[in-house]
Amino acid sequence: MKKILAILILILSFFILYFLQANFFTWFTIAGVQPNLFVLFILFVGLFAGKKLGLILGIILGFYMDVIIGRQIGISGIMLGIIGLIGEYLDKNFSKESRVTIMLMLAGCTIIYEVGCYVFNVITLSVNIEVLYFIRILCIEVIYNLILVIVLYPLLQKLGHVLEETFKTKNILTRYF
């Protein structure tokens, strides 16, 4: 019951993030570049609620995003699913209690997500390859995401612990025995 409620709240917060991204962050940009709230969101779910939920939510919500606004169906779903999976492995190997590790994780995940999507687009839509401009946009996007995570870190930490208690109570014990 608690888990279902948590999942519903997560889905609701995805929609809130979507409206934030589509309305506020299309205007509040750094040099015309928007942050990517969805990578942050799915990484957060993967880190605190485990890979199962991270993968499933990532695929479903990414697919949903593609259907609404994308040029091609599927790639966001696959890449966000991968981010959800990565979240679990990062959780096993690194501490979530430090701001710096979360920042590094987010930077890595943003790069993986955007490079994956770009390569896919280059292959399927025969987009011209513009490496320099791509890297420039990617750098600004990563920096923007990092600024967001610095600001939001206390909130993420608190919500994350609530999420972890709901989903991972048994796993925490097994890890140490």
Binding site: F15, Y18, F19, Q21, A22, N23, F25, T26, G32, V33, Q34, N36, L55, I59, Y64, M65, V67, I68, I69, G70, R71, Q72, I73, G74, I75, G77, I78, G81, I82, L85, E114, C117, Y118, N121, T124, L125, S126, V127, N128, E130, Y133, F134, I137, E141
Partner: protein, 273 residues
Amino acid sequence: MYKNKKKGIVGIIVTVLILILLVVFTNSNVDQMSYIENIANIFVMPIQNGITYLKNKLSGNDAFFADMDTLKAENEELKQKNSELEQSLRELEIIKAENETLKEYVNLKDKYSDYTTIPADVINRDISNYSSTIIINVGSDDGIKEEMTVIADSGLVGHVISVTPTTAKVQTIVDTATAVTSTISTTDDTIVVQGTLEDKTTLRATFIPTDAIVLQGDSVETSGIGGIYPKGIHIGTIKEVVNTSNITDRYAIVETAVDFTKLNTVLVITNDA
């Protein structure tokens, strides 16, 4: 040992599933998924519509708070501009009349002189930094179909890639996946303009004929080749010609006539061209 084996199997299953999904999804285009899109839109678009309405209201009220001095200056400027425009309008009238008579001489039918258009509001912009699609608030209920041309007051915007009963997804010309065959209006040379990542207001013109003389400030229009865009829609002006060591390689930067960052209302051309 047992645990590791189990994990390996799960990993393999997940990988296979992802690969199958990849194959299935990449083989289906956006346009074949309109029923799913319709369901997906139900959750987002009504709210998005409301937010856009509010936003437009708010930005409209901004002018109310502007101070008198700027208004006066703006008024002066506009008056001057108006007189200039009136003058050019008169010149245009003369040219138009001349054009009509000349056309009568050569028996040319003006096929694209009047388009029937449907006005629409932009209700959603792209959430990614690497693509540029917009969603407008008209759909198949209003007679919108795929591959219809979308224009704004100053020039070409893009074409419709998928429709639902109440919304339509438009791929703009500044999207990196778009290439529009166009002509330079002064010389009639055919070029291809493509969107770039570099800037959301410029396009890159390639395949310029080696003997073509391209000048800064030349106007670029759609050529009608390719079947999506009708002929003669203004795209923009040439901002810069970049010469490379090989003349077949040279390209030009085209500045779009439409300001895509401030695009709020568009027109969809509904009669088949």
